[in-house]
């Protein structure tokens, strides 16, 4: 019997240390390992370098002051273009930023996974990405073309956090939505990877209803598996659930005002994951009650 890697979100965070480089899967406000991020917020782990196609994962960590350095091409909530905590943190100079192009980030992770120092890319030439990252170097092709390209540096991670639809206890992760994002790449580029999922299933059941290409993350790259239903909330995790747009709007409204944000934190982020999910259910119940009252009135 292969190793059972199931653990809790707090177990995962127990393996993280301040000062680490952490890669976070998903994209924008899509399939983010939010339950793991929330567990991180409950810990005292800080001073992190975060590598992410940034969404509210970056926002929450930035708001809590846990990011020392951010490696990203954007911070967005998709249906709401600007991530409010990301923009606020940048405007207050709260962390150091390594701003890369989306493709440079992908090739940097690929280089990290492939144990290469860099991958040559055209992206970045002529842009201010070269100026704001003075450590970036170009490399000349040794072949007849002699082209001078950007050497997109390897992005190596101490740990990767990703959220998938299903996984087995051994760490085989399955995505059921239309886009794998870069979750397998994050895991491969990391010394340790942790997969949270909507549901842990028996290995034999993984392919009962789905093709083998849905098996995105292989167990040999995975150290821990966490079952966290609705663990991507409020980001999307299709087909299990869509983005919670009502809640995302409430998050953005709260983020714009320090007092409102304090209240949001007290209401949603001061307890454990069960308390969070209960508070989210209550949020929707309140909205529903309010709507019913309005209809009656």
């Amino acid at each position: 019997m292969t190793q059972d890697k199931t653990m809790t979100a707090d177990d995962v965070v127990g393996r993280l240390r301040s000062g680490m480089t952490i890669g976070i899967g998903g994209w924008g406000s899509r399939r983010k390992p939010m339950a793991l991020v929330r567990a991180l917020l409950r810990s005292d782990v800080t001073d992190l370098t975060v590598v992410s196609y940034g969404g509210p994962d970056v926002g929450l960590l930035a708001a809590a002051g846990r990011i020392r350095k951010l490696v990203a091409a954007f911070g967005t909530l998709d249906s709401i273009p600007l991530e409010p905590h990301f923009t606020a943190a940048r405007q207050s100079g709260a962390f150091e930023m390594v701003e890369l192009d989306e493709a440079m980030l992908m090739w940097g992770l690929t280089a990290g996974a492939q144990r290469l120092p860099f991958i040559p890319v055209r992206a970045g030439l002529g842009s201010d990405v070269m100026k704001v990252n003075p450590a970036l170097r170009t490399v000349r092709s040794p072949y007849d073309d002699g082209e001078e390209l950007v050497a997109a540096p390897a992005l190596r991670l101490d740990a990767a956090l990703v959220h998938l639809n299903r996984a087995d206890a051994q760490g085989n992760g399955q995505y059921l939505g239309p886009d794998p994002y870069f979750d397998d790449l994050f895991c491969q580029a990391a010394d340790h990877a942790y997969v949270s999922c909507e549901r842990i299933v028996d290995t034999a059941d993984l392919l009962k209803e789905h093709g083998p290409q849905t098996l995105l993350v292989k167990r040999l790259f995975v150290d821990g598996v966490v079952e966290t239903p609705n663990g991507a909330h409020f980001t999307s995790c299709v087909p299990d659930h869509d983005r919670d747009e009502d809640f995302q709007r409430a998050y953005v409204r709260a983020a714009r005002d320090p007092e409102a944000w304090q209240a949001f934190e007290a209401r949603f982020l001061c307890g454990d994951e069960a308390a969070y999910q209960a508070a989210v259910a209550a949020f929707h119940q309140n909205r529903q009650d309010h709507q019913d009252q309005q209809e009656e009135a």
Binding site: R122, L125, P178
Partner: protein, 258 residues
């Protein structure tokens, strides 16, 4: 209200913009059209339904649509799969023409969507550079600006995200090899870089707009030819497609109010 010969309400400014955006993809053949923004998305669909039938379009997520549904509707059939990783890799194949937005754009076609002010501590953080560097170095990149103003069209952009002609030339042959900024469409007109020094030129005015309006809303000296044509009229068939098929809810009028 003015009407066309057969009694259709005459084209609105938003509809001239849709047609001008569609024209960006004319003659592109079998490439991925990546429109960002509502009017470009309507334009790309119009182009595919009319003069550029071979274009590929995504549903805004990971699927390539086999048909042309109305904006906001799901496709009836899917012809391919294009998750983000493949989309980013496709960019470098060159088989794509993207129309991006721009928070700032200079006379050389340098675009900024990253931040306003000093990058080290911006006065206003925007999206970040996103895919603008990879787009501009690898496939044709046009721009759409729904509100033409001197705040957008500036002498110098704060953070070069999308690369313009001067910066590409300075970066050398690897940068210019596949670099092209075919056009810029705004609510006032259409612009290109068909000048000897590759700086921005007014190519056409949308009907109802004057040269003075454009130069007054542009923060740098624009090349203005002696004769500036008007942006072409939408055909009646195009107007019907825009109004009845692609954008029946009139989202275009919200992006470009009359």
């Amino acid at each position: 209200m003015s009407v066309t010969e057969t009694g259709l309400p005459a084209a609105t400014r938003a509809e001239y913009c849709v047609v001008a955006c569609a024209e960006a993809w004319r003659g592109d053949g079998e490439v991925l059209a990546s429109p960002m923004g509502t009017v470009p998305a309507i334009g790309a669909r119009l182009a595919k339904l009319t003069f550029s039938p071979d274009l590929l379009l995504t549903d805004g997520e990971a699927l390539l649509m086999a048909d042309v549904p109305a904006i906001g509707q799901r496709p009836g059939a899917v012809e391919g799969w294009l998750p983000f990783r493949q989309h980013l890799a496709l960019t470098a194949t060159g088989r794509r023409h993207v129309m991006m937005g721009a928070s700032q754009l200079d006379r050389h076609g340098n675009q900024n969507i990253s931040c306003i002010g000093d990058w080290g501590r911006p006065t206003r953080q925007l999206l970040g550079v996103r895919g603008a560097p990879v787009n501009t170095l690898n496939n044709p990149t046009s721009y759409w600006v729904p509100k033409h103003s001197a705040r957008v069209f500036v002498e110098r952009v704060d953070m070069v995200s999308g690369v313009g002609y001067d910066r590409a030339a300075a970066a050398g042959p690897a940068a210019t090899r596949y670099h092209r900024v075919p056009e810029v469409v705004t609510n006032l007109g259409v612009f290109d870089f068909e000048t000897p020094d590759r700086t921005m030129r007014l190519r056409s005015l949308h009907p109802g707009v004057t040269v003075e309006q454009v130069t007054g809303a542009t923060g740098f000296a624009l090349t203005v030819p002696d004769e500036v044509p008007f942006t072409r009229e939408p055909t009646e068939a195009e107007l019907r497609l825009i109004r009845e098929v692609v954008d029946p809810k009139g989202l275009r009028e919200r992006e470009v109010p009359a």
